[in-house]
Subunit: 421 residues, 2 copies
Amino acid sequence: MENIKIYKGDIVFTKQTDYFECFKDGYIVVNNNKVYGTYSSLPEEFENLEIIDYSNNLIIPGFVDLHTHAPQFENRGLGLDKELIPWLETYTFIEESKFKDIDYARNVYSSFVEKLKENGTTRAVLFSSIHKEGTKILFDIVHSSGISAFIGKVNMDRNCPDYIKEDTYESLNDTIEIINEYANKYPLVKPIITPRFIPTCSDKMLISLGRIANEHNLKIQSHLSENQGEIDWVSELHPQIKGYANVYNSFGLLKPKNTIMAHCVYSDENEMNILKENGVFVAHCPASNTNLSSGIAPIKDMLNNNLNIGLGSDISAGHEISMTKVMVLAAQLSKIKWIYNNRNSSFLSTSEVFYLATKGGGQFFGKVGSFEKDYEFDALVIDDSNLSKLDLSLEERIQKFIYIGNHTNIKKIYVCGNEIK
Amino acid sequence: MENIKIYKGDIVFTKQTDYFECFKDGYIVVNNNKVYGTYSSLPEEFENLEIIDYSNNLIIPGFVDLHTHAPQFENRGLGLDKELIPWLETYTFIEESKFKDIDYARNVYSSFVEKLKENGTTRAVLFSSIHKEGTKILFDIVHSSGISAFIGKVNMDRNCPDYIKEDTYESLNDTIEIINEYANKYPLVKPIITPRFIPTCSDKMLISLGRIANEHNLKIQSHLSENQGEIDWVSELHPQIKGYANVYNSFGLLKPKNTIMAHCVYSDENEMNILKENGVFVAHCPASNTNLSSGIAPIKDMLNNNLNIGLGSDISAGHEISMTKVMVLAAQLSKIKWIYNNRNSSFLSTSEVFYLATKGGGQFFGKVGSFEKDYEFDALVIDDSNLSKLDLSLEERIQKFIYIGNHTNIKKIYVCGNEIK
């Protein structure tokens, strides 16, 4: 072992969904940026090595935001009395069109990334806008921050206002230019193929993006079954294909284990099966789904059904960039869905929403989001001393942090072994 | 006019539920702590007077928290995978029993009141614990803070653990002692009669509390129809009376226009009519109602039906003390209820939840929660400059503050004309 680091503190993570792994005054041994082991007491072999001592602080995995829109950052909290399509048309497209201006892009993206990092998001999957130069700036800013991310230049060439509609060829060329420039430029920030959603992408666009993803070995992200109006629209646009997910699939855009579909609010059993068969990651975005009156996604059912699931802040339909706030709302909505389902089955517990925001979404990045052996060491050191005067268990302390903590409790941040704060 | 003060800024409030009153670079003229008028341009008669200039800041009414439990403050974020009765028994009663210790009470109540004030709550209706001395300390601390409140020593003499169960006579005597000492001690902090809820109060207790409220001209608060298990329990305890609200009514505890009932999640048409006839204030507690899997109260229907309604943080079943967070969740849950109701009628808009958190709850205190003529001047001065780089209308700025602002944006606080921060 070459490059050992040992961290001491009150360690909490979720190996499985249904309970917290807790090590009071425990140790995480990191070897070459990966977890070598997590222990209640330090094994003899490490006894003479230096210990980075975070005693009395919580050490937890960094948070994973599986779906969010960087260029919508300035729009947080606006237009939330509307539903998806009018919200897009009244607020979102106009704001995104501003990212043609690279100074505006640099300015807003800097604030966005700063907030993301400040709130302990160590991994994020981002939509940029359609703009090539603005997207490149986002790559550079995210890399500088130390966060790990997949970033997608958005593609859209139909059914949207002219000021934000792309020419198909230009859109594809811009996408390839970004891939060529950024696929190997940064170790932790990579491109991802990003058709906005079916209604705004021509068949030619969708087929070509599927091909590019294959040729360049890239992951894919888009939106699925968020809103009934949207679903009906997709069905009108593709009457020959049954089911929204199958439209993506028919264009080669459900790449096994490498695709994120945000929302999946109205995914029925058929659609869930398609998602499961293809190992699609569902990005559950509870704030967005309530703010835009979309609905409550059947996440507990999906979890029981062993689908891949993570959480998304979905800025700006979601207003909260903090993943702890997203976790809380995921638990709350799950309880409401359970009530309306006559309290059959159960709702998402605190450990389950924590799992979704760490290991659940982390799996999209590889071995990320846990302190099990060989996981990349992404960690937050949490000083929770101001959150309670009570004598609490670690399970209770992590609950308290999730419910009433905030970014000011985050003292240190590690991404893939690197201390970035 | 003797004691005129003039405030200038970007004024926003809700006279009615359905839209924001906005005065860009407007003026509020306050005479003897009450609003004399709100203007777009300053009337001639005031032209030579000094102006307190908050230009570019929002000036909005202070927030009203119509239902919260001060001695549960340390429990925020704990036990929220449970429902009401097990949550009470596992966490809440044990924590409240600690308030026998006046040092503990002083310590926790100081933190609680500081947080309440910090978040812009200028009026609150509080449950204390059963403890007389601890309750007196709460009166003193709230008075010192400058906030206005009704504070109730809790009464409970059955169906609860012995360590928190009161002797009926002692409970009533303690209640009367507090009334005698505090009814006229502080101008803005007053006692309120507070039976915990029907299951934990004997008939003798309930009858006596109704009488005390009448004799001493006091307001009343309690809990109603929060959870189905609780409702069934009440019906078993009082089989001769039909409907939970009627149990309170039969003991003289629905005092016209002077009673708050928290929750009312399961209030049907009959119960709503009783609440309306008696001018009962419904304290809607969205965070509590989701955290404990209680349900979604039919607030939009109640509002359409002209009931008196305010919002409550309901610490600690609710985890957020900030009324803006409570507003957001009220809007979100209302959208979910609307979806499950096949999108009939509509959901609570941003102006409606703002109204509930200001004028709606404020009416329990008199003319409070608005900048109309003769309203007591409770105000928050909000520096929202860090919330957006966009050029926004006042309606949009207040939305942004509600959704993404926090206590750090609150620059000044006024309660009944007094600057308290």
